[in-house]
């Protein structure tokens, strides 16, 4: 099957790179994948989101209107994409930046204090990676080793310290389950 994932947040929170890590990982595991950003006159602090599709079937439409997974990094994203989720889908919320509980009772909901956890892991900019870690624990879209390899490549130009911080954040997210 194919999983359709929407990742959404403020510009600058790393939602596009979240998606790119998933698609690069899918490529490494020889799965079908597409990464599709909402593009427009984007700016830091505005909203950003991307759709990622991963699976073993050819991908026809790159657009998802009823995703299996939504990762919401802020309140506007929760407001916009919670209604889109497929029944029984997974909603992962960055509780640090949301102001209300989700409304639906027909989906699985995970709320984590991702920004706080990222700070504790030593890199608050890795909030996105904390959420990615938790997502991979809930649904094994890709092996964690693959994702760590991708993180090492994508952040290579930022140096070892950034790679280590992001891998730590991934582990923190993975271990954040109850």
């Amino acid at each position: 099957m194919n999983y359709e994932i929407i990742v959404s947040g403020f510009g600058g929170q790393g939602v596009l790179i979240f998606g790119e890590i998933l698609s690069q990982g899918a490529l490494k595991e020889n799965k079908h994948t597409v990464w599709f950003p909402a593009y427009g006159p984007e700016q830091r602090g505005g909203t950003a989101n991307c759709t990622i599709i991963i699976g073993d079937e050819e991908i026809a439409s790159p657009i998802s209107i009823d995703p299996d997974i939504v990762v919401a990094l802020n309140q506007p994203s929760l407001d916009k994409f919670e209604p889109w989720l497929k029944k029984g889908g997974l909603l992962i919320i960055n509780k640090t930046l949301t102001t209300r509980k989700p409304l639906r009772d027909d989906i699985k909901i995970i709320e984590i204090d991702a920004l706080t956890l990222a700070r504790e892991a030593g890199e608050e900019r890795a909030t996105n990676i904390v959420l990615l870690g938790r997502l991979l624990k809930e649904i094994p879209l890709l092996s964690v080793d693959t994702v760590k390899e991708v993180i090492s490549v994508i952040f290579a130009h930022r140096g070892e310290k950034v790679i280590a911080a992001n891998i730590k954040a991934l582990n923190t997210g993975w271990n954040s389950g109850d």
Binding site: V34, W35, P37, A60, I63
Partner: protein, 355 residues
């Protein structure tokens, strides 16, 4: 064949062009295709090519003309308003029989419009666009891999027919990343010879390249020669994909981004045992009239879906004639229909047919 890489459509155009032997790029910035010139500006110097940012699209297409006349594999990329500015140059390029590849990453129009994906430049691209009786080959790819293959192929076709080739795509395909395999890097010494090019007339007769002829009798003949070439292209270069048409009683016709979205619709309707198929034109000119005409006896109706107010639908109606209804569903202005939107429209059309 290399390994699979994840790349954006607009960057894939650039890499594929370089692998096809393109060593010259002239362009002017416009969203949503800026990553193409950005990529070219970085990559072309590595392969001893030339990247130049022109002062306008008009300048860019005229630089393309010069490089092409000198025998280079050359391209430019732009988006709708820039493509309009290039129309005079395109007409001259055809008149002078100069090969080049031009990608139009179409955005919402008319006028400045917006930067969202659209298909509203179909008429402009497929029916000539500039002045005079002319055609350019036009491709409408629907995946990044297909964009790569068609870009590569376009350079060969442009040289083969000494005519511009247009890649008609949009920001959805341009901005998305998909895994692709790039074709091999062409060795420049394996590219076709261009004895007509302006390379310096030492020890040979001089070549003259122009689109000017005062004598109507001669210009008429030149025109008929061009038309013969277009006729030959119409016979030999048609490309399309047929999907689930074998037993289809209702056929969707859609290209590019909508072509792939409509495929999801066909899959969903087939799960409900509704016999729907898809024709996805890949060459928009020459248009695949033949395959649509052949389907008329088995099909009850056609539906054309476009991100425009209805342009390709006219070509489908030409192929179908009065023999079957041709429905249309379009979203202009940069709106992208979802698979569910298309599914609902198909069901509406089917119920209209029953009543």
């Amino acid at each position: 064949m290399g390994e699979k890489v994840l790349i954006k459509g607009v960057e894939a155009i650039a890499e594929s062009a370089i692998r096809a032997g393109c060593r010259m790029f002239f362009g002017y910035p416009i969203t949503p295709q800026n990553e193409t010139p950005e990529y070219m500006s970085r990559r072309l110097p590595q392969v001893e090519g030339i990247f130049l940012q022109a002062e306008s699209e008009i300048a860019a297409i005229n630089m393309v003309m010069g490089a092409s006349a000198a025998g280079a594999r050359v391209m430019t990329t732009t988006s709708s308003p820039g493509f309009s500015l290039m129309m005079e140059g395109m007409s001259y390029l055809v008149g002078m029989e100069l090969p080049c590849v031009v990608a139009n990453v179409v955005r919402g129009g008319p006028g400045l419009g917006n930067i969202a994906p659209a298909q509203s430049d179909y008429f402009q691209a497929t029916k000539g666009g500039g002045h005079g009786d002319y055609k350019t080959i036009v491709f409408g790819p629907s995946t990044v891999q297909e964009l790569v293959e068609l870009t590569y192929h376009s350079f060969d076709l442009a040289d083969k027919y000494r005519n511009p080739v247009v890649l008609l795509t949009d920001g959805a395909l341009g901005q998305m990343m998909e895994p692709v395999i790039f074709p091999e890097m062409r060795k420049l010494n394996t590219l076709p010879e261009k004895p007509w090019a302006l390379t310096g007339a030492l020890n040979r007769e001089k070549n003259i390249i122009m689109s000017f002829e005062m004598d109507p009798k001669i210009l008429e003949n030149i025109n008929w020669e061009l038309q013969k070439k277009f006729q030959k292209i119409s016979e030999d270069e048609v490309k399309y994909e047929e999907y689930a048409t074998d037993d289809a009683e209702f056929v969707i016709v859609a290209y590019g981004t909508i072509g792939r979205i409509a495929k999801s619709t066909v899959k969903a309707l087939r799960e409900e045992n509704i016999p729907v198929g898809l024709i996805r034109p890949i060459s928009l000119w020459p248009f695949p009239y033949g395959v649509i005409t052949q389907l008329v006896p088995q099909v009850e109706a056609f539906m054309v879906v476009e991100m425009s107010a209805g342009q390709m639908v006219e070509d489908v109606r030409l192929a179908v004639g009065d023999r079957r209804p041709v429905f249309f569903y379009g979203r202009p202005g940069g709106m992208v229909p979802s698979p569910r939107d298309i599914t609902e429209k198909v069901k509406q059309c089917l119920s209209m047919l029953l009543s």
